[in-house]
Symmetry: C2
Subunit: 221 residues, 2 copies
């Protein structure tokens, strides 16, 4: 017997260009194993509260929070002409806010935490996705997977941006080193750049990360 | 200025052994690019509706649906002595239900879809995770990452189970080939096994997948 599909689920689904921002904490899983369960949740919730406030302030829509990872949409559900630029400003402010988060952690005798952020602009399918009983607004497509991939190449404190994001923002971006992002199904690596700031917000500069050194200083797999 | 943390967020957080089930569709992203946006959402929602119904029937709690991926908890929020066994039965039934899903897809002139499932048992931190404005029940820890990793090693139609899941179920499992799962931060690969069925449900046998052939038949990266 086939399931009948309610009419409501047949509606919806639209292709749209959006900017996606994904962040997560470096080494959080290993760190969490050395803390009490109540501390893990309290540390996580304090960090997430600070970030969510900033994301809302910049007009981002939080699609998912999965553990220490945050997935944010700019340009959906509402169309946003300056989506890419808003995402850039949001990401820089999120990194800047980590100092305050870590001051609190220090007071609480919790470990210091470091976040990486990836930002990418591209086409997605937006719509209400899920079952008849449980559907929520969400996005699907290669752009989503690629944003996660870009984010996974960051070191703590870093923001990496894709070529299409750079193009969508236009003038004003202050960029650092190139980071080649290899992804499944792509012949050529995606030439991403470290985001250091934007000419219009000189007070918001990030320091360049020592990417190569940081990568070498990690334990070998 | 530091954020004050509301008392509510300080509460919660508990270590617990649970069984996690993760599923997603093989090659869905590439397939979605050849369909209309409305078809992508309709196909996805029909598939998800069928799976969600089965998951609820077997006592699983859906933690997240992210695009074509489903993340299910057994043993949280409610403690469940037979969590591992329930997850096994659920996974087999999910794979069996794909025939009906694909019959519907064929009628709709949509492509055939194939799902992979990973199941793993281990300790997680459970609690209400998120910001002051937006928190939801969830789980964090290495067990979550490892379940996703196990699932990523499946081929379409396959269920892979971890050694701790096999141990938690005890007698009755019918297992196929070993699949070595390599994960970040682990010296030794995790020796997972293909799940074919359970002696108590002889009507629910899955066919062994030609893992090696299937892996070779994929386009090279």
């Amino acid at each position: 017997v086939l399931l009948d599909m309610p009419e409501g689920l047949k509606l919806g689904g639209e292709k749209r260009e959006v900017t996606l921002l994904m962040s997560d904490l470096r080494g959080f899983t290993a760190m969490a194993e050395r803390l009490e369960a109540t501390e893990v949740v309290a540390l996580l919730n304090h960090y997430l509260s600070a970030m969510v406030e900033l994301i809302h302030h910049h007009g981002g829509t939080i699609d998912e929070i999965i553990g220490d990872a945050i997935f944010v949409l700019f340009g959906a559900p509402m169309v946003m002409p300056d989506a890419a630029r808003r995402a850039v400003r949001c990401a820089i402010n999120m990194q800047k806010a980590m100092r305050g988060v870590n001051e609190y952690n220090f007071q609480m005798d919790w470990p210091e935490i470091e976040m990486g952020i990836g930002i990418h602009t591209g086409e997605v399918v937006v719509g209400n996705i899920g079952s008849t009983k449980r559907s929520k607004y969400g996005v699907v497509g290669r752009t989503v997977n690629l944003t996660a991939r870009i984010e996974s190449f960051t070191v703590g404190g870093q923001v990496l941006v894709s070529p299409t994001l750079i193009n969508a923002v236009g003038r004003g971006l202050i960029l650092g080193d190139e980071v080649k992002v290899h992804a499944k199904g792509m012949r050529e690596p995606l030439k991403c750049r470290e985001l250091l700031g934007h000419g219009d917000y000189p007070e918001l500069m990030l320091e360049a990360e020592e990417t190569i050194f940081a990568m070498l200083s990690k334990p070998l797999p």
